[in-house]
Symmetry: C2
Subunit: 216 residues, 2 copies
Amino acid sequence: MNETVRPTFLNLPEDKQARIIEAALTEFADKGYQQASLNTIVAASGIAKGSLYQYFTDKSGIFLYVFDFAIAVVRRLLVQVKDSTQEEDFFTRLERSLLAGLDFIRQYPKIYGIYLKILFDQQVPQRQELLQRVRQYAANYLHSLLRQGLARGELRPDLPAASAVFLLDALLDRFLQAASVPAFDVVLDLEQANPEALRQRVQELMDILRRGLAGN
Amino acid sequence: MNETVRPTFLNLPEDKQARIIEAALTEFADKGYQQASLNTIVAASGIAKGSLYQYFTDKSGIFLYVFDFAIAVVRRLLVQVKDSTQEEDFFTRLERSLLAGLDFIRQYPKIYGIYLKILFDQQVPQRQELLQRVRQYAANYLHSLLRQGLARGELRPDLPAASAVFLLDALLDRFLQAASVPAFDVVLDLEQANPEALRQRVQELMDILRRGLAGN
DNA sequence: ACTCCATATGACCAGTTGGTCATATCATGT
DNA sequence: ACATGATATGACCAACTGGTCATATGGAGT
């Protein structure tokens, strides 16, 4: 557990902390790690460059602090969706999770932007560890949904659980990317779709998941 | 159609061209667009910096030329796999395509590396257009497989084709990423798996696609 | 031998980066 | 009023970037 943030930062008035976090979040989400400029962060938050180094050890310290902040927000959402759909059947819960993900991205585009950067920016500090943390959250979430679905007999008992989680994770992740990364989705045109069309697509996908491509 | 490569480059001896393309491919795959250094490319290919600007208009010119080179290689593979599996049934063809993809990445890791960069490096020149070209190839390929599967009665006739292509594209793309990006896959551990285990996983996934999560 | 033009070169430029540090400002206790 | 320690500052630094350009080299035609 190496310290990246200095006590000085935590002593700051809350609104000043918030201004700095917000500026850093914006810059990192926009440019990724290496391309992000400390000068930009400093200018946007209205502090001197020297001050930044009174608050954090170095560039990676700022990044890791902002990442922790972001992941805490995501965690809250996952818990909330899981709890509030406890009574629904498996496929409805999946559907709700997807739509909640869309809402989240629309509400916190910068947090999602940071995730996308970590995904494929080789130079992010401690990238493997950060990536693993995020993917593990998603996998645990889906695994838990799956177990409950199996217990209730909503899924076939011979389902290979790990592969199923893999498939679900792939689909959900891609769906969110398709809906928010321009030109990424040339098939469903999710980025342009209105909420009603989106819901329609989600239901088609749930139906394929339920019955398969060949089945009855 | 704006020119990015100068005739001078095309007049060069083939091995010199190859050396330069190879060096550029390596650097872009490693660092992405903005982070790639022309100095590194120049040093690795043993030419002077000034020469680079006799061959290409500017940095983005080099990148776009290398991208075109890379996509031509991919295209050849897709055509070949499609042709050589013409007689197989839908799910076997899908399986073969996946395994062929794995082989390709192992054989041309740099080309795959460039694709991953384009995916989420906001600063890549003409990113939207390049991304769209790649995704469109994949979608057309899957669509064609699907049509033939439907025609042969291997798939249920009421299948919503667009959504099915979307799901397949998501799964295949993620599978390749999981098998080659460290720490990305916390579920199947594809990166460490031996060829036999990989084949096993692929078949489980094909089975889920065929029969669905709930079905008989 | 001379000309001509394509090709090759690397010192050089302005701009930007992450990071430093001597100095200034502020708040508090006495 | 003074001292003390935390906080704030921005000029400055070395390193590196993409790109330029005056000059050198090479080879073909005469």
